[in-house]
Amino acid sequence: MAYGACNVTFDWSIALETLPALLSALRITAFATVLGMLAAAVLGLVWAIARRSPKRMVSSLAGLAVEFIRSTPLLIQIYFLFYVLPEIGIVMSPMFTGVIALGLHYSAYLSEVYRAGVEGVPKGQWEAARALNLGRLETWRLVILPQALPPVVPAMGNYLIAMFKDTPMLSAITVLELLQTAKVIGAERFRYLEPLTLVGLLFLLLSLGASLLVRWGEGYLGKAQAR
């Protein structure tokens, strides 16, 4: 685009024309977010339990892994999986590679959330489980997790929103999610302003809506616990 095109203004008719394509791309974004969160929730729990392992080796390795995943860029983790997985013979679609990368990255954050929940369970509960002669697995499954998980659900909601906002990074490995679709439309029509602004607005609306839900959840849980 030439320098002369300075006085471009926002064209609503173009915005309306591009909206359907963006909305259908939003489904890909939502799909990646939901699957990524499921992976993160499961893997995060594994980290959290591993970090409380009685074996020093296991707990410190898990701690190091979480710290490493958390303090390195998600984009490079995405590239890493995208290029390395096929080399070791695991071939899957960019979409699923992206979901795994999102899940892995956020599992590190979620393990901290779980840890806070587990630390909130009184020590007497562990002792009671031992007095009842429950095994390690049963202690976690029947005593600790049912008490540790409900209070941390809203915090997990915040990470769901954060993950949603990180899905545009999947565009770097050719996933046609919201941002990549907007870029393709922009390149085809030489109009970046409308599609990119719409993508911004969609993210804004959805994450604001979701954070209202999380806040409502926090209030609801607060009341439920006070009862």
Binding site: V8, L75, L179
Partner: protein
């Protein structure tokens, strides 16, 4: 390619990444204070402006913001170089999160402190800067340290707007050598190293601030 040759070719990119981290955090700190205090202003217009800034930049994705400033803003007549775009967007994005840190820490200081300051006949400005902020500063530092790490990690995104930072150099190097595991492994280690250095720095700052105002331990 030997390990040292790999490191050497990434050094230029490292300089860009460090420059972005430093520049971005300066912009972010400035904006965090302006918007954080702005949200506590007595003027409704200032409060609303700060709130809109915070919600817009927290509510949209960093990469979307980067693309918008890189692809859409020039169409509106504002031309920024990729480096300036990177610094400005990273600063605006993390600054919005930082504003909540500043606001939260100031709100968390008990009202008795403000009442004592009023009793001492301090002006509003004196109350804020001599009583509230010195105490709030210590509470801001741990979350601010986390945001600094987030900013450092987000610098990798600028490789997608043609800036040759560490990630960009790594991509070129991977294409040349095809040593994917080595190149990306090294990249991850370098970012991890920068992150650990930042954490050590923030902890040292916490200790200094805690010592300066003789206030307990930094938690």
């Amino acid at each position: 390619m030997s390990f040292f040759a790999l490191c050497w070719s990434l050094l230029d990119g490292l300089a860009v990444t460090l420059l972005l981290t430093a520049g971005g955090s300066l912009v972010a700190i400035g904006l965090a204070w302006i918007a954080g205090l702005g949200r506590l202003s007595t003027h409704r217009v200032v409060r609303a402006t700060a709130a809109v800034y915070v919600e817009v930049f927290r509510g949209t994705s960093a990469l979307v913001q980067l693309y918008w400033f890189f692809y859409a803003l020039p169409l509106l007549g504002v031309h920024l170089s990729p480096l300036v775009t990177g610094v400005v967007v990273l600063g605006l994005n993390i600054g919005a999160y930082g504003a909540e840190v500043v606001r939260g820490a100031i709100v968390s200081i008990g009202s008795d402190q403000r009442e004592a300051a009023v009793a001492l006949n301090m002006t509003r400005r004196q109350q804020l800067w001599l009583v509230i902020v010195p105490q709030a500063l210590l509470r801001m530092l741990p979350p601010a340290g986390n945001l600094l790490i987030e900013l450092m990690k987000a610098t990798a995104l600028v490789s997608l707007i043609t800036l040759s930072d560490l990630t960009f150099r790594g991509m070129i190097l991977r294409a040349e050598t095809l040593d994917t595991v080595q190149v990306f492994g090294l990249l991850l280690l370098i970012y991890f190293g920068i992150g650990q250095a930042l954490i050590v720095g923030v902890r040292a700052l916490e200790r200094r601030v805690a010592g300066r105002w003789h206030m307990g331990r930094a938690t």
